[in-house]
């Protein structure tokens, strides 16, 4: 039986990797993957607590998160594809038309 603290530690590490990925990478697709990583880190924490507390609530939350994540991927990828068609790039630092 793996202790809760290990699972939470893994979840925290994955989440931090996701945050760093969002902040430092230029490619919109990689940023997108990093966001997914953060979501799944949160999912991991949910299931860990669910097992620890012997409750199904956390597992149900995970299903919700996965559903929302799936929808978000659909919309987000559509935006990125369109962005690429329009600007022929997916590097976010080249997409700065709104700069004041």
């Amino acid at each position: 039986m793996i202790p809760l603290s290990w699972l939470l530690l893994l979840s925290a590490v994955l989440f931090a990797l996701g945050v760093v990925g969002v902040l430092v990478r230029r490619n919109a697709l990689v940023i997108f993957m990093s966001i997914e990583l953060m979501l799944n880190a949160a999912n991991l924490a949910f299931v860990a607590f669910a097992r620890h507390l012997n409750s199904l609530d956390g597992q149900v939350f995970v299903f919700f998160v996965m559903t929302v994540a799936a929808a978000e991927v659909a919309v987000g990828l559509a935006i990125i594809v369109n962005l690429f068609r329009l600007r022929e790039t997916v590097f976010v630092d080249e997409i700065n038309l709104l700069k004041g």
Binding site: V19, V22, L23, V92, D93, N96, L97, L98, K99, G100
Partner: protein
């Protein structure tokens, strides 16, 4: 004829034509819009005749049909109705306006046949008819003022009809602005009257005026003088006459209709309509008489030295309007209205004849490049001669009767000096009108070669109205023969309107018949002398005119430059106003107003300079701020 009088149809018909022209004018074609405009005014004329016959069938004391149409506004105790009044005075005006108006509409179909914008022309012309008929048929100052402003607007639009010509656009603006000055006085007069009596409906006002306004008092004097200021603007009297000669930039039928026969007489009509008030203010009447007499002579002298055929006629109009005011001022209101009617006939004819000449000469207006046109334009020549004799006051033409009545009215009321002014004006009128006639139709041709080629008599659409007006100028005066005891038919027709006042047109017949006969002989003599001198100076021995011009070169310069009145107004009024406006624009507008507006903008721009640094446009930066924000929140909550 239905039971209700339906007076409102008279102005409504031209308005209906305006709306139809607006809606379907582009589908009607050139002939269609002309037919629509003429038809509406023609039916309006027929309806006026029927209405007047109905009025005439009433007993003399009841000859005033008031027809409320609807309540315009109701504010507290004040209720303003749109209602029309048909009495002998407005009947004369309605007949003159629709009758002469109809002839000029028909004439216009010929005159404007080659103009590309004929639809807009008839639109404005019908709108004018609507406004003018509203003005003369209104049963209250407010509705009259609506018509008053409406005709002013149409005058502006039609003077500037050929707006691509800078002179026409300028003349339109000048007419409008000068009229605004008069209207300002008119409005103040209305306010004064309303404050003093609480009503602007004519019949109520005239009924209460003698009780509420002490005769000769300051209030009624101020009110009538302010009203008269409005009249001087609309009817081109001293000091506001300068716009009328410039108004000749408009199409000639417009000059005939608006700036000779109808609109410019609105001031005379208004003074006659409000004679009850004017008779309460003897000072105002005196002012009216003197302004009229002075204008009559002043404008006539300017007319002596003008070379543009239409300008001569314009100054003659100013002068004749002066006679009408002179008549009103000495209390001979019926004589003034009589002259208004005959003047509408012969002055419309003169302008239309001049238009026919201008049309024949391919837009030549300078008398010095005319001459010898008599045999080549026989119809125009014959009708113009009738009109010229009429305005000169030769019996039995129309102008003789009305002008004579005015002069004898002035004489009878004791204004001998005004009578002398009028007589001198009459002699000058005869002279400058025959100068115009001789220079145009007699002598040898001075035409430019290209004009020479194209000389042609005008089409029937133009000649027939000339002919009808010539008949009217010939017989129109016979409704008011002089030397009739108890007043002539025209005066008796108007008597119910003017009977309320003291004096009235009885003044015109207060002189013994022998004296009146002598006065008539004198004025005819003056006219004949003027005519004879014109023939001598311009036909029989042209050297006379040249010699006279050289000997009196100072006087000639004064007259040909119109006494430098325009220059004087320019220096005294136009430039100072313009300069002040410029100064205000440069300081107040560009510095203060624009300064505040731009200052607000600059202030925000400066304040945002630091905040703007955060908006890098890089998604990474935003994500970083977002993350930092989340971390800060987390720390905040974890601490507690």
């Amino acid at each position: 004829m239905p039971d209700a009088p339906l007076i409102w149809l008279i102005p409504a018909l031209p308005l209906a034509a305006v709306l139809l022209n607006l809606a379907f004018g582009d589908r009607l074609g050139r002939r269609g819009v002309g037919a629509l405009a003429c038809g509406a005014v023609g039916v309006s004329f027929v309806w006026s005749v029927l209405s007047v016959l109905r009025l005439a069938a009433l007993p003399v004391d009841h000859r005033a049909i008031v027809e409320p149409v609807y309540t315009w506004m109701r504010v507290g105790d004040l209720s303003v109705d749109v209602s029309f009044l048909l009495d002998p005075l407005s009947a004369v005006m309605a007949l003159v306006v629709t009758g002469v108006g109809f002839l000029i509409h028909v004439y216009s179909t010929g005159y404007m046949a080659h103009d590309p914008d004929v639809r807009r022309y008839f639109l404005y012309l019908n709108l004018f008819m609507f406004s003018m008929l509203t003005l003369v048929l209104a049963d209250g100052f407010l509705l009259l003022f609506v018509g008053w402003e409406g005709v002013g607007l149409c005058s502006y639009l039609l003077i500037g009809f050929w707006y691509e010509r800078p002179a026409a656009a300028e003349a339109g603006k000048k007419a409008f602005i000068v009229n605004r000055i008069g209207d300002f006085g008119f409005l103040l007069g209305l306010f004064t009257l309303f404050a003093a009596t609480g009503t602007l409906q004519f019949q109520r006002l005239f009924a209460v005026a003698p009780q509420l306004l002490p005769a000769g008092g300051a209030v009624v004097t101020a009110a009538t003088l302010l009203l008269f200021l409005g009249a001087t603007g609309k009817s081109a009297q001293i000091p506001l006459f300068t716009w009328l000669p410039d108004a000749m930039e408009g199409p000639t039928p417009v000059s005939a209709l608006i700036h000779a026969a109808t609109m410019v007489t609105a001031g005379v009509y208004m003074v006659a309509r409000t004679h009850v008030l004017f008779q309460l203010a003897p000072v105002s009447l005196e002012v009216v008489a003197w302004v009229g007499g002075a204008t009559a002579l002043f404008a006539a002298t300017i007319g002596l030295a003008q070379n543009d055929i239409k300008r001569v006629l314009a100054y003659s109009t100013v002068s004749q309007l002066g006679y009408m005011f002179l008549a009103c001022g000495v209390g001979a209101f019926a004589a003034g209205i009589f002259h208004l009617m005959t003047h509408a006939f012969f002055k419309a004819l003169l302008f239309l004849g001049a238009g026919s000449v201008i049309h024949a000469l391919s837009n030549e207006q300078d008398l010095r490049r005319m001459g010898g046109l008599g045999p080549r334009l026989p119809w125009t020549h014959a009708t113009m001669l009738v009109a010229t004799l009429a305005i000169a006051g030769i019996p039995p033409f129309a102008g003789f009767f009305s002008k004579d009545e005015i002069l004898s009215g002035a004489f009878a009321s004791g204004h001998r000096a005004l009578w002398v002014l009028g007589l001198a004006g009459a002699a000058l009128t005869a002279f400058y009108m025959f100068r115009l006639y001789v220079l145009t139709f007699r002598g040898s041709s001075r035409l430019t070669p290209e004009a020479e080629h194209h000389v042609h008599e005008s089409p029937p659409a133009m000649i027939v109205p000339l002919f009808v007006l010539a008949v009217l100028s010939l017989v129109g005066g016979l409704v008011g023969p002089p030397l009739v005891e108890g007043g002539h038919p025209f005066a008796r027709w108007l008597a119910p309107v003017f009977a309320g006042g003291h004096g009235g047109d009885a003044a015109g017949h207060a002189v013994p018949v022998a004296t009146e006969g002598l006065l008539i002989a004198l004025s005819v003599l003056a006219a004949v002398a003027g005519i004879a001198f014109a023939f001598r100076a311009y036909l029989w021995s042209p050297a006379t005119a040249t010699r006279l011009r050289e000997r009196l070169s100072g006087l000639y310069a004064l007259l040909s430059h119109k006494y430098w009145v325009d220059e004087l107004y320019d220096a005294v009024a136009v430039r100072p106003v313009h300069g002040t406006a410029q100064a205000f624009w440069r300081f107040w507008d560009t510095r203060v107003v624009d300064g505040i507006v731009n200052g607000v903008g600059y202030a925000f721009e400066g304040a945002s300079a630091i905040l703007r640094l955060f908006q890098t446009g890089f998604v990474g930066t935003y994500a970083l701020f977002f993350t930092l924000g989340v971390v800060a929140l987390l720390l905040h909550f974890l601490r507690h």
